[in-house]
């Protein structure tokens, strides 16, 4: 019999954790040794139970899946992290792999792909699903870019910050002593460089990257 693989499950939804546990444990090779619903819990448990593989949902409360992956990769070098995300491009795969993830899948995959990924990562290999690999290949850009906002000039950055804080073109043009037409030219160039189509999409991107903050009430 193949050697047992000890797994830590991290997902915000308890129903999903319990279901994945049953799906995995239908195969005797897999043993779920812990469950966590937040990033902090995941790091704490990983340190304690030293699993072979962590199956990590990216969108979890607290420090989030990316930061939890980074901390687990640092604290438990023998543990492999398989990240599961909803969207192919969000967060950017390259950033997650850089954070120390060994496997990367989307929630649109089926359980067969999850078990393949867990086995590969337990053997010390990397596993990236085909749709994500395609996205990564497409987004490869020259240089070692930390954030798409690095592509912006200083002037573009200024305009971007004002737009994403909700200022109108007229206010921006007054503040920067530029004509409204020039401000709009900067805006369209920004859209182009960042791959967005309008101000609201730009705002989503800026918030996701922590460039602009906007917080909900607690």
């Amino acid at each position: 019999m193949e050697s047992e693989i000890r797994i830590l499950l991290v997902d915000h939804q308890s129903l999903v954790r319990s279901g994945i546990q049953r799906l995995l444990e239908d195969d005797p090779q897999f043993n779920v040794v812990g469950e966590a619903s937040t990033g902090e819990e995941a790091v704490e448990l990983a340190r304690r139970v030293k699993p072979d593989v962590v199956l990590m949902d990216v969108q979890i409360p607290g420090i989030g899946g990316m930061e939890a992956t980074r901390r687990i990769a640092h604290a438990c070098p023998d543990t492999g992290v398989v990240v599961v995300t909803v969207d192919v491009s969000d967060p950017f795969p390259a950033q997650l792999l850089e954070a120390g993830a060994s496997g990367y899948l989307t929630k649109h995959c089926d359980v067969g792909e999850i078990t393949d990924a867990i086995r590969a990562v337990a053997r010390g290999e990397r596993y990236i699903s085909a749709d994500i690999a395609r996205e990564m290949a497409l987004s490869m850009l020259p240089g070692k870019e930390q954030s798409p906002f690095d592509r912006l000039s200083q002037r573009e950055m200024q305009v971007m910050l004002m737009v994403t804080q909700g200022q109108s073109v007229h206010v921006i043009s007054d503040l920067l002593c530029l004509s409204p037409k020039t401000v709009s030219t900067y805006r369209y160039r920004l859209y182009d460089k960042l791959g967005v189509d309008n101000d609201v999409e730009l705002t989503h991107l800026a918030i996701r990257h922590g460039i602009v903050t906007c917080t909900a009430p607690t």
Binding site: H12, Q13, S14, L15, V16, S18, G19, I20, R22, L23, D26, S37, Q59, G64, M66, E67, V84, V86, D90, P91, F92, Q95, T106, K107, H108, C109, D110, V111, I114, V163, T164, Q165, G166, Q167, S168, V196, D197, N198, D199, V200, E201, L202, T203, H204, I207, R208, H209, G210, C214, T215, A216, P217
Partner: protein, 228 residues
Amino acid sequence: MALSRPFTRAEDNPVHVLLVDSRRLVRQSIQRLLSDSDYLAVTGEAASCDEAIRLARTCQPHVIILNLPGASVDVLDGARKLGRQFPDIRVLVLAEEADIIIQERLLQAGVAGCISSSCSLEELISAIDTILAGERYLSDALAQKLAERRLPGESDSPFDSLTHREMQILLLVVEGKNTRSIARALCLTQKTINGYRHRLLEKLGVETEVALTHLAIREGLIRIPQIG
């Protein structure tokens, strides 16, 4: 508001569930979890509300579980359509506890219950029991938040005054959709959509749609998770 016709379950006959979730892995997991229970049986799976509407005719579930993350037009309109076309099927929505505004709208639209998306299997079963008995199910946290909003001195959400149509357009605008795709999604002309967009800004007292997006986040209507 009580729901029509309480449901009585025949002995040895499980409750038929139609599960709606866009993510295959999540559908498979929840189905596997429920397969251990004698009480519930997943008899259909759909990736969207539109697919659920098509499936519900043939698989005739007792309960439809909607597990579509976030506040979106898909959830709001999907739940309304399901409620209109299948008045005898109970719809239970798994929602983030913080998404109060959308849950209130869903209950107004006729869903039988809203339960926290992080609930346990026991809580899910108890919610299904409640709605099959013909009652509404609200999670404790939601009930408390909704009650608090009705207390004097509590300020209303600025979105309370919006009509359903305005809410649909608001959700699409703050998602970053352009006029053309909103018009297509709602089967309206672009001119009508532009009229609504303009009116939304006016009604909510903001200058730009970015400011509108900030307002939607601050009021807890939508969330944009930060990465890294």
